[in-house]
Amino acid sequence: MATVQVSEAEKVYILHGIRDDLRVDGRGCEDYRHMEIETDVVSNTDGSAKVTLGHTAVLVGIKADIGKPRPLVPNEGYLEFFVDCSANATPEFEGRGGEELGTELSNTLYKVFNNKHSVDLKSLCICPGEHCWVLYVDVLLLQCDGNLYDAISIAIKAALFNTKIPRVRISTDEEGGKEIELSDDPYDCMRLNVENVPCIVTLCKVGHRHVVDATLQEKACSVASLIISVTHKGTVTCTRKVGGGSLDSESIFEMTEAGKRVGKALHAPLMNVLQQEEHLGKKKQKVGFLG
């Protein structure tokens, strides 16, 4: 992970500020930075979204492809994650520098999203045991300014919302051979239900308190953080502790509660924004990467 050098005096300053619920950039402890979301940014994917959170920027593209279902769950499709830590984000990622982080991130994403409670995997099934849709979720880190998990999860949710899977039909000939037929209408496509898709809230323990959406400087002051994935109902689907320091059970409880609260509050406006954008249809003003 990208790190910044923070001097002792700065640390003290940050710590004291957080203690008084006033962070360096003026936010409260449970406030997010300014967030921008745009969907349908990469035309040759089936669904895509770009999210900027402060200076953190991630791009998520989803490609749907036909694959074979896993033998244990023949009537479900599945998701595949790949996180590409581009050297654009920070020079440390150059060469194979970002690989470790990428693996770590994608492992977490598997845990959070690739289960039937998050995404309706059954709707991805085309023909039980034979064909199913595989959603390849490619995450590209464009810029790192802390709180990657949250930004990625929001982008994934937005991209899943945006995903249009071409509708296919299975035709059977008299010999029982099955043939996949593709509709020739590009508008004839299937949408995913993203209602239950969770968002990740990362809480950083700084001093005695914890903050959400930590900047890199704040992160440097923290010894441990808790990653919580929360659905729109406030259900916690996954937690994970990262960082070298330890957390006592009381603060874990406190942080989980805060995470639930923040997560729940995050979902409603997110869905709102996505639906608004969808509604605009072709009239939408494209911003893209130059805006």
Partner: protein, 956 residues
């Protein structure tokens, strides 16, 4: 402005791919109209006074046809009357997608300046581009795009024009729905939308165009009875699934020439070989037409049948349409064949690809006077009769016409078609020649401007750049020897003594590949034509005349570029050195075979040319002897030559070609050059050398030859080419000098076709007839495309020219070979047909002749007689429909045919009377009747030389 086009595609591996294409819109696409003042176009295509006399549109107008109009009515659009047409890009793309031949024809029209066809790239125009909307099918979108473009045009023309009642656009469609939509969206105040049928009918000045309208779907039910005659064709998706699962097989439909109820489907197997499936009966044939690609289902084994040997011609059609069905099925073949003769039999379940082309033939005028529906009989017997609608039946009767098939509904006995054009009166020489070329698929149109653009500019001279990689051989005494009247001289020879006592022999071939560069229009045209076709009195060139008869032709006393193959030989004709080089030569004389022969024989002449010829002749004799010792075959076929009247181009006399020593002299060196080059290019390019092979015939081919020889107590051995050649040499019968020639003619018939192939795709290179392990064609690049490729390969091999990717691609090379083989075969057929036609003309003028001939084959009910004087073969039938068949006994072993005590054997000498049978004007033929030996009831009395008025039994 940037838009993107998105569509989803299924990949071959079963995946699904989303494809996004960038699509740029622009505002500098001009309308192409002369009347327009707004557009900043440099040149205009569409005229201001776009007048077509239509009773529906009295004002000047431009036509915008939609896709279906172009697809179905291309024959109408091709007519000179239809001008000032806007072809939208949408239409062009759709046409290209749906029918390649129509697309090509459309492109040709667009290139024609007088037609004033303008392509408007509406898909890239800022104001006419539309995106597909949700719920809209691709077809609907295209229709809408066409309407939007039409709207734009009418608005555009209105604003840009000064006077008000000026130009309008007319949208032509053949879809009521499209017209309705145009009406609904209130576009009609802007432009007119007319059904194409109505529009064509409204062209008062040109009523004949109506005939050329293709029948659309709506018209079909009107014509046919409601009775369903044929099983439904399966949809393509089911056919594909069936082929995948193996329940159907895919093959090319080949109708039988002799029996309209029978056909075979040729299934392409692994490599060269394939299997055939027999199809019998109208129901099973199921509307397939010769050369269609069809899906066939095999019948259960107990329903398999043997091919019938009956000749059946579809004559039910002579009656009127409605009464025809009754006796149709009568001849369905109930012959219970011997088990062994049965073949795999199947039925056609669907058509994968129609291969309809315009067919030549003649009209059978309907007996009902006012009827506009007539049947058309194609010249090719394998094509069914076609029902067409025309009002000009009386003018078209007796003419050769072309007709296209539009469709074959399942409740119609015959396919429906429409008249395309008239070729001229039947029996006229030009018409028949045209028919002959069309039916043999010989490309014979004049060369297009695009092709001519690649010709060198005249006056042409050799430049210093040309000389860079060339050897200057202008000082050599080179001469050419060709048949009289030859203008495309592609080979020249020289021979001289070297200082070391050896002989230097050079074969110089016109350097056509210098002028025809790979990949350009000229090259593509030549590759497509494949060969020059020589008909009697006419030559259909492969390359434009400037090249064939001038720049490439190695005429005397001019400097010409050549590709030379030069050997150093000793006096025993052993090759000591071979080299190839591009060169410049200056031929000192172009001689005919006879002239060359005279020079050689004239002992008084001792000039350089004559010496050179003598040297060549001497070597050629040695070479020929060596070749024959190796087992090369000398076969024989009678070639005839017509003496043409210089004024009328009618044949006035005919004689068989004579062969002189000089013929074989030239041939010998050409063979040598071909073999040397073949070896060289194969050594250099193992994978992609273009070679020619002549496979050894299977032993069963020789059966007839062996039987024939045996009947004269002559032994023929066919184990090897050498054995065959030797035994043919000694085969002689006392008192029958012509026997040997006859035997050689028979042997020729046993041979296989020689073919071009690519060395990387085959491993059998042997040339059986020439007894050469490797062979190619190098010596006639002016008239054969294969030679051009060989020239290019050789040029690369010696570093005289650069290569290009297609030359080294064995698959492309192989595809080219297939085309060349096809063209050569067709050219041969066309040549034979031309000779046959001229023979007919000749006999027409001569009336009835009595000649002597030999029995060449014995058939079940006939003998085939060869008349050496004319090189003419004819069949003498012993059974005919109206006569009681005399007692005929056919013995297959002999083969002999005994008719009332007289037995015919192969090689028997007979006398026949020859006349022209013009009873069927489409298929005139030479009729022969026996006069000697006299067999009562079979032979005819010797007629006087005066032509006897034959009763033609007209079939209409």
């Amino acid at each position: 402005m940037l838009k993107s086009k998105t569509f989803v595609k299924k990949t071959r591996s079963g995946g699904v791919m989303k494809i996004v294409r960038e699509h740029y819109l622009r505002d500098d696409i001009w309308c192409g109209s002369e009347a327009c003042t707004e557009c900043k176009q440099e040149s205009t295509v569409l005229q201001t006074d776009a007048c077509m006399e239509s009773s529906l549109c009295s004002y000047p107008h431009y036509l915008i046809p939609d896709t279906n109009v172009v697809l179905h009515q291309i024959d109408v659009l091709e007519d000179a009357v239809i001008r000032n047409v806007i072809i939208l890009q949408t239409v062009l793309q759709e046409v290209r997608h749906r029918s390649a031949p129509v697309y090509k024809r459309l492109k040709d029209i667009i290139h024609e300046k007088e037609k004033h066809f303008y392509t408007f790239t509406n898909e890239h125009h800022r104001e006419t581009f539309i995106e597909r909307e949700p719920g809209e099918s691709a077809n609907d979108r295209n229709d809408r795009a066409i309407r939007v473009a039409a709207k734009w045009y009418s608005q555009h023309l209105k604003t840009s024009e000064s006077d008000t009642d000026g130009l309008k656009v007319v949208l032509l469609t053949n879809d009521q729905g499209n017209k309705q939509k145009a009406e609904e969206s209130g576009l009609l105040y802007l432009f007119t939308c007319i059904l194409v049928e109505e529009y064509i009918k409204s062209l008062t000045a040109n009523p004949e165009l109506v005939d050329r309208l293709a029948l659309s779907n709506d018209d079909k039910n009107e014509i046919t009875s409601s009775k369903v005659l044929f099983p439904e064709h399966l949809p393509l998706s089911r056919i594909q699934a069936g082929i995948k699962s193996g329940s159907f097989v895919q093959g090319t439909f080949r109708a039988s020439r002799d029996n309209y109820l029978e056909a075979t489907v040729f299934i392409q197997g692994e490599g060269e070989d394939g299997t055939e499936i027999l199809i019998q009966g109208l129901q099973n044939l199921n509307r397939a037409v010769h050369q269609d690609v069809v899906a066939v289902q095999l019948l259960p084994r107990n329903q398999w049948v043997a091919p019938s040997s009956v000749v059946l011609q579809d004559e039910g059609a002579a009656k009127d349409d409605n009464v025809e069905e009754e006796e149709e099925e009568k001849p369905v073949l109930l012959i219970s064949a011997a088990e062994a003769a049965r073949k795999a039999t199947g039925k056609v379940v669907g058509i994968i690809k129609r291969n309809w082309r315009p067919f030549c033939g003649m009209l059978n005028v309907s007996q009902i006077k006012e009827s506009t529906r007539h049947l058309f009989t194609p010249a090719d017997r394998r094509i069914p009769r076609i029902r067409i609608e025309t009002r000009q039946a009386s003018t078209l009767a007796g003419q050769r016409i072309m007709v296209s098939i539009d469709g074959w509904p399942k409740d119609s006995r015959y396919p429906n078609g429409h008249f395309v054009r008239s070729l001229g009166g039947a029996g006229e020489k030009d018409t028949e020649q045209e028919v002959l070329l069309l039916e043999h698929d010989v490309p014979h149109q004049a060369f297009s401007q695009a092709v001519l653009n690649f010709l060198p500019k005249m006056p042409w001279a050799i430049t210093p750049e040309d000389m860079v990689r060339r050897e200057d051989l202008r000082h050599l005494t080179v001469c050419s020897v060709d048949p009289p009247g030859c203008t495309d001289i592609d080979d020249a020879l020289h021979c001289r003594e070297l200082e070391n006592g050896n002989l230097e022999v050079g074969v110089h071939i016109a350097d056509v590949s210098h002028f025809i560069r790979p990949g350009n229009a000229l090259d593509k045209e030549a590759a497509n034509r494949g060969t020059t076709v020589y008909l009697c009195g006419k030559r259909i060139d492969m390359v434009p005349e400037l090249l064939s008869s001038n720049l490439c032709s190695l005429r005397s006393n001019v400097e010409r570029l050549a590709f030379s193959c030069i050997w150093e030989m000793n006096h025993e004709a052993e090759i000591l050195k071979t080299r190839f080089t591009k060169s410049v030569i200056n031929s000192k004389a172009s001689l005919t075979y006879a002239e060359a022969q005279m020079r050689i024989d004239d002992t008084n002449k001792n000039d350089d040319i004559t010496k050179s010829l003598r040297g060549l002749n001497k070597l050629a004799k040695i070479l020929k002897r060596q070749r024959i010792e190796k087992g090369a075959l000398t076969l024989s076929s009678l070639e005839v030559r017509f003496h043409m009247d210089s004024e009328t181009h009618d044949p006035i006399d005919l004689q068989t070609k004579e062969l002189m020593e000089t013929n074989s002299m030239v041939e010998e060196f050409m063979l040598l050059a071909n073999i040397s080059v073949a070896q060289k290019i194969y050594d250099e390019f193992q994978e992609c050398a273009l070679l020619r092979k002549h496979p050894a015939p299977p032993p069963s081919n020789y059966d007839i030859l062996l039987k024939a020889a045996k009947s004269k107590d002559v032994a023929i051995y066919t184990d090897t080419a050498k054995a065959l050649a030797d035994s043919l040499d000694v085969a002689k019968v006392d008192g029958f000098p012509y026997f040997n020639t006859l035997l050689r003619i028979l042997a020729t018939r046993c041979m296989m076709q020689a073919v071009y192939f690519c060395s990387g795709m085959d491993n059998d290179f042997h040339h059986y007839g020439l007894a050469s392990p490797i062979y190619t064609h190098f010596t006639s690049p002016i008239r054969r495309y294969a030679d051009i490729i060989v020239h290019r390969l050789l040029a690369v091999a010696i570093g005289a020219d650069s290569t290009y990717p297609d030359l080294m691609d064995k698959h492309k090379q192989s595809a080219l070979c297939n085309n060349l083989n096809y063209r050569h075969k067709m050219a041969q057929y066309a040549q034979r047909a031309s000779v046959a036609f001229h023979t007919q003309l000749f006999f027409k003028s001569r009336g009835i002749l009595n000649e002597e001939g030999f029995v060449l084959f014995v058939r079940k009910n006939a003998i085939i007689v060869l008349i050496p004087k004319f090189g003419l073969e004819g069949t003498v039938f012993f059974d005919s429909k109206d006569k009681v068949a005399p007692s005929i006994v056919f013995d297959e072993e002999g083969p002999t045919l005994t008719i009332q005590q007289h037995t015919f054997r192969i090689f028997d000498k007979v006398k026949v009377t020859i006349s022209l049978d013009a009873s069927n004007i489409q298929h005139q033929k030479i009729r022969m009747a026996l006069t000697d030996p006299v067999i009562p009831g079979v032979s005819v009395p010797v007629p006087d030389a005066e032509p006897q008025a034959k009763k033609p039994k007209l079939d209409r």
